[in-house]
């Protein structure tokens, strides 16, 4: 799968970093960073949780 963040929508709520800390990080500059854009299937549940909990709908997952 591929993680795609629309940075025009992202407002750095950072809830994804709690849902999937292996995939997302909010740094002190206030911006979100995707740590792993192509995680293995073991991260699917966490990535989906991040999608559902993102207040701005900025995260999508594409199957590869």
């Amino acid at each position: 799968m591929r993680i795609i963040v629309d940075f025009d929508l992202c407002q750095s709520h950072g809830l994804c970093t709690e849902a999937a800390p292996e995939l997302f990080e909010l740094r002190d500059d206030g911006f979100l960073y995707v740590l792993n854009e192509t995680p293995g299937p073991e991260f699917a549940a966490k990535a989906e949780k991040a999608v559902l909990e993102c207040p701005t709908g900025a995260i999508t997952i594409k199957a590869e």
Binding site: Q11, S12, H13, G14, R27, G30, L52, P55, G57
Partner: protein, 398 residues
């Protein structure tokens, strides 16, 4: 269970439907919604939509999520009228009946209206997409706007109107905006922020009367002053939407009374979102309604799990979180905050665009409020979840 009915077609109901499918439920899922619209996102209504930055299409969840696999049967534009728990039937306003094996109550809340609006045109609340579209349309004609109630909705409406260059008056019976919610220091900062942006405040006064010939023309205040206006937006809070459940046997107490797992007192009925009142273990088991976005997301999923798995599921706990966009500020707030909690600014200043502040009670951290400081907010939120002391918060965040 063959049929699960979800009453309420907003965020909590949608997340419940998604969770049911995710958990492998392959029976019928019927979603009943009072509004004519498919599920959409509410926070942008008072912000991007009102400020004219986003079109309505952008708010629909199906535009940003893939819902095709949900196979929902939707009954939109029809509110539920009553519930028969013995026959397990929901009756809609049209008279149509829908039987269920499992029921998710997610009817949200309804804005309170002023008793003296008297059917005048130009007086609005702001809860639904149709509300927001009708306010936006009124604003596009260069209206003078009066906002009644200086809570978050009222202040966001005021900020959006100022962005559009409209004249805005805000009327509030307390002596400062947000005072009862966030306490004196923040209330003063909010007052200064909006006053600096040209909002005309009428504080410490109540509305005596709305006056106009068919359409509202002015508001008469208790002190005799008059506020001329073309559009009134009333933001004085919400009440849980439980009228359709009265007499049904589902326990109600300022909301649908749920246990720690979001089950009601009636078997096979759970609830989620703004309508729920439950003992929240994250804040000492206090019985509370949490009318915020993230709570609806998490409760929708938890209620679905409770319905399918039964009482073996973990208690639902949630640290309240909300945000508010006003001018160039993004406020984020989490915790259970009271106006008389200790309040300390740890970074920046209340007169600046950036600050990070904490609330404390009995030397424990009980809340976090930041402006334009998402990184600090997230660190503080972790401390709050860990039950940190105020001193630990000071050391970690200063």
């Amino acid at each position: 269970m063959r049929t699960i009915v979800i009453v309420g077609a907003s965020l909590a109901g949608l997340r419940a439907a998604q969770a049911l499918r995710k958990r492998g439920f392959d029976g019928r899922v019927v979603m009943i919604g009072a509004e004519r619209h498919a599920p959409y996102d509410r926070p942008p209504l008072s912000k991007q939509l009102l400020a004219g930055e986003w079109a309505a299409e952008k708010l629909f969840f199906h535009a940003r999520e893939q819902h095709a696999t949900l196979e929902l049967e939707q009954r939109l534009g029809q509110a539920a009228r009553s519930l028969d728990v013995r026959e397990q039937v929901v009756t809609l306003e049209s008279g149509e009946t829908v039987s269920y094996d499992g029921l998710v109550i997610a009817t949200g809340a309804t804005p309170r209206m002023l008793p003296h609006a008297g059917g005048l045109q130009g007086v609005h609340v702001l809860r639904t997409l149709d509300d927001a579209l009708s306010v936006a349309s009124a604003l596009s004609q260069g209206a003078r706007v009066a906002v009644i109630g200086a809570g978050f909705i009222g202040l966001e409406v005021a900020a959006s109107c100022r962005k559009l260059g409209l004249m805005v008056s805000v009327i509030e019976p307390q002596r400062l905006p947000l005072l009862a919610l966030l306490g004196e220091p923040l209330a003063q900062a909010a007052f200064a922020l909006h006053a600096d942006h040209g909002v005309d405040f009428h504080l410490g006064v109540r509305v005596r009367e709305l006056v106009g010939e068919g359409r509202v023309e002015r508001i008469v205040l208790d002190d005799g002053k008059e506020v001329p206006c073309d559009v009134v937006v009333v933001g004085i809070g919400v009440v849980p939407e439980t009228r359709w459940l009265e007499g049904s046997g589902v326990a109600l107490s300022h909301g649908v009374l749920c246990d720690e797992q979001l089950a009601t007192n009636v078997p096979n009925i759970v609830a989620a979102g703004d309508v729920v009142r439950w003992p929240n273990a994250a804040v000492g088991g206090e019985l509370m309604c949490v009318e915020h976005w993230s709570n609806a997301v998490e409760q929708g999923q938890a209620a679905a799990a409770r319905l399918l798995d039964g009482p073996v599921v973990a208690p639902f706990r949630h640290m309240p979180y909300f945000w508010s966009d006003q001018y160039d500020r993004k406020f984020q707030c989490t915790g259970r905050v009271r106006a008389d909690d200790a309040f300390e600014v740890l970074q920046g200043g209340l007169d600046q665009a950036m600050f990070a502040a904490v609330y404390g009670r009995d030397d424990r951290l009980c809340g976090v409020l930041t402006s334009n400081a998402p990184g600090v907010f997230l660190r503080a939120r972790k401390l709050l979840a860990q039950g940190a002391s105020l001193e630990e918060a000071r050391r970690a965040l200063s």
